[in-house]
Every structure is written in C-alpha cells, then in structure tokens.
Subunit: 315 residues, 2 copies
C-alpha cells in the first residue's frame, strides 16, 4: 500500500524535470460556487497535462539496465505524450501503441517528442497484444496510464504542491478516468491532512467510478461517450479502485452541457485554455449537489490539462 | 515630463486593487524566437487587460471632491471595462460612452461593473461631443484611454513588475494603439535600466506609430483595420508621441496572418487565451526582422489582454 511518503519521494525524484505549476483563483467562480476555489494549473505542466508527473516518476525510477531497454505503453492521449517526453528526457527509447484511427495531431505530437508510434487495431485487446509483442522483442518496461504505483505516486505530487501552497483546503476535487489522478490526490491529501475530503468528478457518459461506488464493486462499462476524452475509461483500475471505494467521499457526475458551460466559463473568465476533461471538476463544484455540501470553505480543483483540438469550438 | 518615479508612485497607489500578474516562459516559443522570452500575463489582470492599471491610477489619484462627481470616457473596449471597475472599487459613478453599434457583450460587461452606458454616434466627433455634454452636466472627470499622464504611469507598472521579476531583460516589446502602454513601458524600462531597448508592435492595417516614426511627425490614418481591435487607433497621442519618437527603437508591423498564427500558437502551446492585440507582439518577436536583431538574449513581451469573443475561431 502506498503512503504519502511515496508521493514525497516521487516529488523529489521528478522535481528537476517537472514544472511546479501555479495555483489560480477567480472571484467570479468563487461567487458562482459559493466558496473559495483554488485551481491547480496542470494545463501548464510539460506536455500539457499532469500525466507527465506519473510518467516521469515511473521512468526515472527504472534502474539503468531496465531503462536501457526502453518503455512502452498504449495511449492515444495525454499519457502517450507524457511518456514520450519522459523517456526523451532520460535518453531512452519509447514506443507508443496507438489505434490506426488515432488523431494525426496526437500522433505528430508523440513523434515530435522523439518516440516511435506503432499502430494497432482499435480494441483494448488489440492494443494489449501489440504491447506484449513489442515487449517480447525489446524487453521494454510497460508504463500503463494509471494502474501502476509509480504513476499514482507521481500524479499525487500535484496534490502535494497544491496543499503546500494552500494548506487550509477542506477538500480536493479531481476528475476520474482510470483513477490514477484521484488515487494520487487521495494519498497526498489524506496524508497531508486526514480531515481533507476528496471528491471525484465524472461525465455521465463515462461514469465507471460513480457506478462502481454504487455497486460496491468495479463496474465495467460496455461503452463510454463524452467530449472529456481523457476520461473515457471503461473501468477504474485494480490499484486505484480501493482509493475510490474507501477514501473518495462521493463521485459526482455532470452532463455534457455542464462540461461545455464550465469549459467556456474558464476560457472566458480565467483566460485558461483547459481541455474538456479539466472542465468536469469545475462543472461539479458549480453544480447544485456540490453547492449544497456544508463545511467546505476552501476547495482545491485540478485543472488537469490543456490539450484541446482548436479546429472547432465546443459550443 | 513623467519619470520612473511617477510609475513607482502609481504602483504604490494601485497595489491594493490590481493583480501582480505572473511572468510565463515557453521553451517552444524560445526555440522559435531564437532567444529567451518572458511573457507578462496581463490577460490575467482584473477586467482581462492591463487597462485596469491606468484607469485605477487615474481614478485613485482624483481628490475626493473631484471623485464624487464621477468619471466618464468613451470606449467600446477594454478601457471602458477597466474604468467601470476602477470607479466601482472607489465607489464613484462612471459613465461610458459607446457607439450604438458596439457589441452587446461589451456593453453588458460594462453594465455588469455597475457603470452607466450612454450611446453616441459612431464617429470620434460624435463620441467626444457626447462626453462634453455629459461633463457639462455632471462635472465628471474625463479619463481618456491613453493620452493622460496618470494613465501612462499606471500602464508602466506592468513593465516595472516585469523588470523586478526579470532584471536582466535586454529589451521589452509592447503593442501600440494610442501609445499609452508603450509610453509607460518606456518610462519604466529606461528608468530601470537605460540600456534596456524598447520595441513597438503594430498590425500593418493600423500602423499609425510606425508611419509616424517614418514621417518624423504624427500621422493620422483615415481608416484602420485589424482583428487586433484593441489597437485600432487612427493616431498616437500627443503625450505618447514623444516616447514613441525618441525612445522606441523601432515599431515593427505584422500582417493579419502573422497575428492569427501567433494567437493560435500561444493558445495551443502556452494554453493562454490571449486576445488578438496581445498576439501582435508575439508575432513581432517571431518575425524575421526581429529575429535578425543582435544583442537581445532576454526579451520581455506583454500579453496585454484576454478579452476575445469566443463565438468563433479566427483560423
């Protein structure tokens, strides 16, 4: 079982390569939320999302012999870019398995960080088989997007910085895809202050964590749909589930309309170009069920990333 | 003649009400510019632009008797919002004269800050007549958008903060509309370090300052056109012209295509939602003529605002 000590070690390990991102506030959003909000700006993190923390922690923790064989993952999103840069910074090869249908822009970004891209079929099985095949040849270490202790501890460093900057937080809110971010947040927040409450945020169209909480066991969704493309996980992880089950107080869900409105609000009023996944937590704190909670004067929210295709608007 | 002492006094005067905005950097843009860039993030200033500095300085400097009569200006843009909030914070009335054709969004923003909006005809003469009429009735102080010593000194406080944070700057780059911002920047930068060079940035479609520099005298343009709507001045000010003439080394002009490309780049790579006027300076430092300049290791740029209509994209 991980503890905050693992998060602190991760923070020391990745400090030379990550940005300590700023914490922003907004009087307008405070008024709308009915409390003081503190936004941890991971959209400014290298590669444009918090994923660079977990990927860097995992890559830097490899011993030299393992590292020399490189790293591999499957991801069509932020984790792929994060692992590509983390490997480049350590000077080791990275291979990112992506479905042939993945966006050319994301493929180009990963190639731009010097990683190799290998195409696979679209299903999770297709991607996992391709990763296994590559590992059999190269011996590369698999760095999964969320279900890995080093990844979880790395993501927790964002919460540690947030709490160091705002020690009076009564709660933190993080979006949930596979659960890596919220597990790291739970570790850091509860370790920092056992009374700090932790809330999850999901789109209604990709609410594996909320449904699992209700069922009392991991629920696997047949399909997911949301503009919050970083949160389209069919199930939460094996390692992340216990954090969600036992330490996340509630997982709130929000509609696509709420997500779009929150994204536009943050763009317009805070001038921060967040991606839809980052708007999910904002939509939660502005929602009636969350506003009805008592005892929450100061709430931290992670604006998890800013990688949004700018060839169209969402409204 | 103003000096850096006036800027320092303005800084003390407005400190309780303005944000000290952060300075951002970007490895990607440094590579593209061929030097180290330091971005003063006035898009995060209250009301979304640096204009709040000058307006606040002017409003706070009024004695109580004058203040009680209120303030007035004509502006369909950032200065109107800035003056409205500055007056609200001091608890005095503000009236903003806007052409009947002004955007309803901007009108709503000004009303939202508690100011009155009075409509006028579209020409400068129409607007000036309306202001004179209002002043004859109320005795309100006219706070113009740029050609006023307190406004100039107030805008200079952005440069002062930038130089305090990055004392090694070799140059600063600021966009020019009427010239208030660059005059304040010149005062602060030359006062802080006489060797600090000052460059101006204009759209080719609104290049009154560049043309005036060439002519050696103030040129009045018959018309202006650019998506950089904050810079659509037909001429630079009487008070601002001596700074531009004598202390701004060069005013560079950039095309609409360069402005749009720079704006998209800052949105995509820096995740900062800048307005077109703020992209003009970025476009300049990325342009060949600027890249060809020598002796400029560290260059400061002001991202002057983030008030951009988000109902369409510009590319």
């Amino acid at each position: 079982m991980l503890t905050i000590a693992d998060v602190r070690e991760a923070a020391d390990r990745i400090r030379p390569v990550v940005h300590r991102t700023p914490v922003f506030t907004s009087e307008t959003l405070d008024r709308m939320a009915g409390r003081s909000l503190f936004f941890k700006c991971e959209l400014f993190q290298k590669t444009g999302s918090f994923k660079y923390r977990g990927a860097s922690n995992a890559v830097r923790k490899l011993d030299d012999a393992a590292a020399a064989k490189g790293v591999v993952t499957h991801s069509s999103g932020n984790h792929g870019q994060a692992l590509a840069l983390a490997a480049k910074v350590r000077g080791i090869p990275a291979t990112i398995v992506m479905p042939a249908s993945a966006s050319p822009v994301k493929k180009a970004a990963i190639l731009g960080y010097g990683a190799s891209v290998v195409e696979s079929g679209p299903s999770l099985t297709d991607r996992e088989e391709k990763v296994a095949e590559l590992r059999a040849k190269s011996g590369a270490a698999m760095i999964p997007p969320f279900d890995h202790p080093d990844v979880i501890a790395g993501q927790g460093t964002a919460a540690l910085e947030l709490l160091e900057d705002v020690p009076t937080l009564d709660a933190v809110v993080a979006p949930i895809g596979g659960g890596g971010l919220i597990s790291g947040f739970t570790l850091a927040a509860k370790g920092f202050n056992p009374n700090c409450r932790v809330f999850g945020a999901e789109p209604t169209g990709a609410s594996a964590a909320a449904q699992s909480k209700t069922a009392g066991d991991r629920v696997k969704l047949d399909s997911t749909t949301s503009i919050a493309d970083g949160l389209l996980a069919n199930y939460v992880g094996q390692l992340t589930w216990p954090y969600i089950r036992d330490q996340v107080e509630t997982v709130f869900t929000v509609t696509e309309e709420q997500i779009v409105a929150a994204m536009r609000l943050v763009w317009e009023r805070m001038k921060l170009l967040i991606e839809p996944s980052a708007a999910v937590g904002v939509a939660v704190v502005l929602s009636e069920p969350f506003r009805a909670l008592t005892g929450l004067s100061n709430v931290g929210i992670v604006l998890c990333g800013g990688n949004v295709a700018l060839d169209k608007l969402y409204w």
